[in-house]
């Protein structure tokens, strides 16, 4: 391919594009009175084919001007740069996250809540995928279990958010163990499809068990969280936040409160993960990712170790789900589709597996950027999909590729380059 002249190459690409786009773009099927009618759109095809021609030509000419760098060298360099910048980037990001609600608009706070929810989900899944190397395509199941657990417990017992939160996490973890136990001895992609299947099963059950879950109508009127019993409502009686502190009630107060709840939950996830990484349990997760057989030869029970990773990851997914339910006040199965699992997995992989900072950066790119382009409407998801492909092709190992040793013998140790790190087979 690379020996061909750029012009010929661009021409062939355009020809392929013509084949791809001529029927799908060029002939729109519209439903008429007597069945399907084809509406031709030759201009759109011409524009797309032309664009492919120009783009391909540009890429080839650009490549010809500069000799190709050794494969992956650039990626390694950037990966190092991120890891090095981590020391400065982390405090800056943390400070920004803490201060943001005081200066930002309501819409921005809302976006912040959304971003932090995904950061938390990403950190939770990072335990399973990034540390333990288990490919989980059904993480949304635990998110859903947490959300419905909170909604149902609150509905049936009248307990508040804070009392239900541990239960939601515990139930999600329990699900993780129940589902994980029979399937964790499966390897690699078999595990992937089974986790995907479990995610779908939970969604289908939520959709059809109408008497319990309300089916497609979902559950509404989920109680909002309180601050030590103080409610966030638009009145100022003494039981409310505004009344107690003699403030003018405003919706921003509740928004900021929610923001800080999810920030705290996300930071809790991060803290637990970072601590676990430095301790036997986290270390053995990583060892499992590196070499399962060697682990077994060292007396490590692989099944229980995998289960703990699954359960801890699920537990944080459950917390995030409970938060989602209390924030929305309404949940339905529609929020827990495979797309969510895929998005969170993409965040983890794009971030650089196992990297906590990477998850934050990837969330900013993957969730933050599309939110900015809401105006693109239908084209937004199309661009999102293409961007996912492009980012993976450019940075297959993710943004932050290095691994910091969990323990050192005195002197500071250098980060471990990505090339040495295994990705797990479970």
């Amino acid at each position: 391919m690379s020996q061909r002249a750029p012009l010929l190459d661009a021409f062939l690409s355009a020809l392929v594009a013509l084949g791809l786009f001529a029927p799908m773009v060029g002939l729109e099927t519209t439903v008429g009175v007597h069945g399907i009618v084809l509406v031709p759109r030759p201009l759109a095809v011409a524009a797309l084919v032309g664009a492919v021609f120009v783009l391909r030509l540009a890429v080839r000419l650009w490549q010809a001007r500069r000799p190709p760098a050794p494969a992956g060298a650039g990626a390694v360099r950037i990966g190092r740069a991120w890891a090095g910048m981590g020391r400065f980037l982390v405090p800056v990001l943390l400070a920004a996250a803490l201060l943001m609600p005081w200066v930002a608009s309501r819409a921005t706070i809302d976006l912040g809540v959304l971003l932090l929810t995904y950061v938390m989900l990403g950190w939770g899944l990072n335990i399973v995928v990034g540390l333990a190397g288990l490919l989980d395509l059904g993480y949304v199941a635990f998110y859903a279990v947490g959300a419905y657990a909170y909604a149902l417990i609150a509905e049936n017992t009248g307990l508040g958010f804070w009392s239900c939160l541990p239960a939601a996490g515990a139930l999600a973890a329990l699900w993780g163990i129940t589902l994980g136990f029979p399937v964790l001895r499966l390897r690699g992609d078999y595990l992937a499809i089974v986790t995907l299947a479990f995610g779908e099963i939970i969604r289908i059950v939520l959709l059809n068990w109408v008497s319990l879950t309300g089916g497609p109508n979902g559950i509404a009127g989920i109680p909002r969280p309180t601050l030590f019993g103080l409610r966030f409502t638009m009145t100022d009686d003494p039981g409310t936040f505004a009344g107690f502190f003699h403030l003018v009630p405003s919706p921003v107060q509740r928004q900021m409160f929610l923001y800080y709840i999810i920030l705290a939950l996300a930071l809790l996830t991060n803290w637990v993960t970072l601590r676990l990484r430095r301790q036997p349990l986290g270390r053995v997760w990583e060892a499992l990712r590196e070499d399962e057989i060697a682990c077994r030869s060292l007396g490590i029970n692989i099944t229980t170790t995998k289960l703990t990773a699954f359960a801890v990851g699920a537990c944080f997914g459950g917390f995030a789900g409970a938060f989602f339910a209390t924030r929305q006040g309404f949940i339905s199965p529609e929020s827990f589709t495979f797309m969510e699992s895929a998005t969170v997995l993409a965040i983890v992989v794009l971030g650089g597996m196992g990297s906590q900072l990477g998850v934050v950066l990837a969330t900013l790119i993957m969730i933050g950027a599309p939110e900015m382009f809401r105006a693109l409407a239908d084209y937004r998801m199309l661009i999102f999909g293409l961007a996912l492909v492009v980012m993976m092709v450019l940075r297959p190992r993710g943004l932050v590729t290095e691994r910091k040793p969990s323990v050192t013998l005195g002197r500071g140790a250098a980060a471990i380059p990505a090339a040495l790190i295994a990705e797990g087979h479970g």
Binding site: R275, L281, E290, L298, T408, L409
Partner: protein
Amino acid sequence: MAAAEALLEVRGLGMRFGGIVALDDVSFTARRGEITAVIGPNGAGKTTAFNCITGFYRPSAGSLQLTHADGRGFALAAMPGHLIARRARVARTFQNIRLFAGMTVLENLLVAQHVPLMAATGLGVLAILGLGRYRAAERHAIAKARLWLERTDLLARADDPAGALPYGAQRRLEIARAMCTDPVLLCLDEPAAGLNPRETAALDALLRGIRDEGCSLLLIEHDMGMVMRVSDHIIVLDHGRKLGDGTPAEIRADPRVIAAYLGEDEEDADHLAPADAP
């Protein structure tokens, strides 16, 4: 060492993969405090025997009885792999080195001490909160790791990723990692493969040291010089059967062994025998 008692008794061990018989009625004894070598041409079933002993394969026939110094016995053939390492205290290395390449040398040795460390952390929960005896346990674990790093001459590389070590150092690290599990029986699968003479000599000394401190060894090795130097007892396998066993001097004089080893060259042995179990 003549009075040594039996540590591992292998009786009638058989292993077949589909139609291929990798081991057929193999019996031998490894004694406590000795280095027992298992030799034989490629495809003789040495690694398969190791995999049976360490629980990676379930033998098709026969028994594997391990007896600790305190008299406790373990029927290895019926135990899950990780319990063989944990309870029966059998450790091993691998023919194709299996280190945690993306983790540092020190981390490799700490993972090896996972079982006692985990117990000290209250199953990981207390340690998150900074409670329990975890700190002391970790100090102890690091001290033990440091000891084995010194003995394997890896202390200077402690914080380097295991995957970045040179080949010989990786072999030594695998032994150090296995030793960190406090085994009573250490199974080494071709530890000298790919080492230069200087490294092999150092390995001789390391293995003798390990033996003299009370851990018995079972050794698969193709380097006959090394086998003859360090072994107390040698078992010869060929085509999945035991050809003979005895002291190095006896083995050197055994005509059947000479025939198996010298009568046909290695290429032929490769060709005739089923592939050495992976």
